[in-house]
């Protein structure tokens, strides 16, 4: 069996050139220049520093606490110092409390998503109730704010629950969220119409909800297509 004088490998009898380096076999002419190396490489592992993220989160929360507390004390002191009573400072104090809870609840309930949605809805309801209570004029909380907040909370819970229970893909999740948004708009117009004394009919919200339908249909059909034949699509967009 002939041996390539350049590579040193055995070559088949019928081959006149080495399949590796192209040198003629059985000839003294040997390729002197080495085969050029192709360039390219890759590289290894990593670790995501979750501990550091946790520290940053705690620091962020402490800054929120400090700003809220400092703001509340200053507002209260200014109000109290001038009239020895709490008057106008009720509104900024309530607002500070609302914003503080708005940022703190996700921090406390970060792994309990459903509970967090309910708690945020309650926070909003409490804030608006206080605003209604301390402002002059006709009450609007029970007839307007509360149903809207409940409707919004229900829409968010519906979306989250559907995504989780049905294990929806990203496109499915967006579709369900759009459905929930459309339903909430209908609910919004019904409640607002009732509050201002008009009939329970719907107009603009129906147009808004209807305009969402083709988008949802497109997303669902695209999602179904991905699942059905979609290797080509899935490989480009898999998450």
């Amino acid at each position: 069996m002939p041996i390539c004088r350049n590579c040193g490998v055995e070559v088949e009898d019928h081959q006149s050139k080495c399949p590796l380096c192209g040198s003629p076999v059985g000839n003294d002419e040997v390729r002197e220049t080495p085969v050029p190396e192709k360039k390219q490489i890759l590289n290894p592992d990593t670790a995501v520093d979750r501990k550091r993220q946790e520290k940053v989160r705690i620091l962020f929360h402490e800054i929120i606490d400090f700003i809220a507390l400092a703001g509340a004390v200053v507002v209260w002191a200014v109000d109290y110092a001038y009239g020895m009573a709490i008057t106008w400072s009720r509104f900024p104090l309530i607002s500070i409390g609302f914003v503080w809870l708005l940022f703190s609840l996700p921090f406390w309930l970060k792994r309990r998503v459903y509970l967090m949605v309910c708690a945020e809805a309650l926070n909003m309801a409490l804030f608006l109730y206080c605003m209604d209570r301390f402002t002059a004029g006709d009450p609007w909380f029970h007839s307007l704010a509360l149903p809207l907040i409940l409707g919004f909370g229900a829409a968010v819970l519906l979306s989250l629950g559907s995504i989780r229970l049905l294990k929806l893909s990203a496109l499915g999740g967006i579709s369900v969220s759009l459905i929930a948004a459309g339903l909430w708009l209908l609910w919004l117009e019904i409640i607002v119409n009732r509050f201002i004394g008009e009939g329970p009919g719907v107009s603009w919200s129906l147009i808004a909800a209807a305009s969402v339908v083709p988008i949802i249909a497109f997303l669902f059909s695209f999602d179904a297509r991905l699942k059905r034949q979609g290797s080509d699509f899935r490989k480009h967009f898999h998450v």
């Binding site: 069996m1 390219q40 592992d45 990593t46 520093d49 490989k235």
Partner: protein
Amino acid sequence: MTKPEAQDDWLPLDNAAKIYPSTASEKSPAEFRIFASMHQPVRVHFLQKALEHVLPRFPYFQVYLRRGFFWYYLQRNTVIPRIELMQNVPVGIISVKERTAAMIRVSARENDIAVDFSHILTDGNGGLRFFLTLLAEYIRLKGAEVSDHPNLMDLRQDPGTEEFEDAHRSSFFEAKSRDPEKLRPAYHVPGRPFRSKRYRLIRGSLPVDSVLATARKHGVTLTEYLAAVYMKSLIRIYKNEAEQGKKQRRSIIRMEIPVDMRRYYASVTMRNFSLFLSPEIDLSLGDYSFEELLRNIHHKVQLLRSKKQLQRQISRNVGAEFKPYVRFMPLFVKDLVLSSVHSRLGEQLHSGVISNLGKVDLPGEMLPYIESLHFVLNPNHVMKKCCAVLSFKDKLQISFGSVIEDRSLERLFFQHFIQEKIPVKIKE
């Protein structure tokens, strides 16, 4: 991996592989080579035939790397690469730009057969299985009867869906425990990396029985013993620098020791399924005798390789991949983020790496054809050197890759065995 995915024309990257394409660079390779020195010159025609028979049995290796919108993926194909002329050290094999670049390379020169693997495809264990199966088929084609063996894949069987599996995901559960302890950056040997060549390889061959007996005499495993010798050599270099008046910023010497997770989980995946242990010492606490190093490494390795500790690594790695903001981050952003994370947290943490593929068993019919087996890791420009080990027949084959000219580490490492009266045969 579900059954339909195994039948798709593409594969998602496994959890361990996800970072590699983004962090790709000449300075930080993620490739390894396994090669065999045969007793006779390689017959290229048979090797090509063997590859044609073997590669379709490993469809997860018959792929190209492609960019998706959110993640890279592996595009399956039916192309059998040509056998190439073997270079002295592995050359880069992955090209994201080249859309049809194979991710394994089979090469030969004189009596040597080598396969270079990208870590995007598999780890050392998966690579070894492919290599041994290729070698067995080559020897069959040369006329020998090779009997079945657990280390060889049966070419008559179709690949099972379990072989495609991302075992990190399958063994993942959401741990409430904290992440693995955060590590401080470690000491690295000094030196400026080569510009003219990729790296230099120095190989040492030692009688495995003698090294094993020495390790057992100290009550440690072979890998722990080799890691202690590596660490001892690093300490010597560290001290030399200190004696020359160089002020050291880092006092931690930490080894990276890969662990095959198939030992802990009943997985037959052929893709990546390994983690690493990180035993360390702190030189700011004082000097260490060799016996102290052995005890330190032995106890830390025993502690770190418990299934629960390893589970923490899996939970962190897979948990990070599941985060919605990571999943939906466009790939070009991921490339930037992962490169930064990798250079800050990945490469700086270890002073050296020692990867031991263990003892390689083969059917008796193959042994007369094979003189030796070797395992080579590509070093990166931060650690600068790395060590890969396997034992075959009665020899322990140790290879050091280095991107710097200085050979002190290799010299100190192999001198230790000479002092122990163990003969060492060196080849460059």
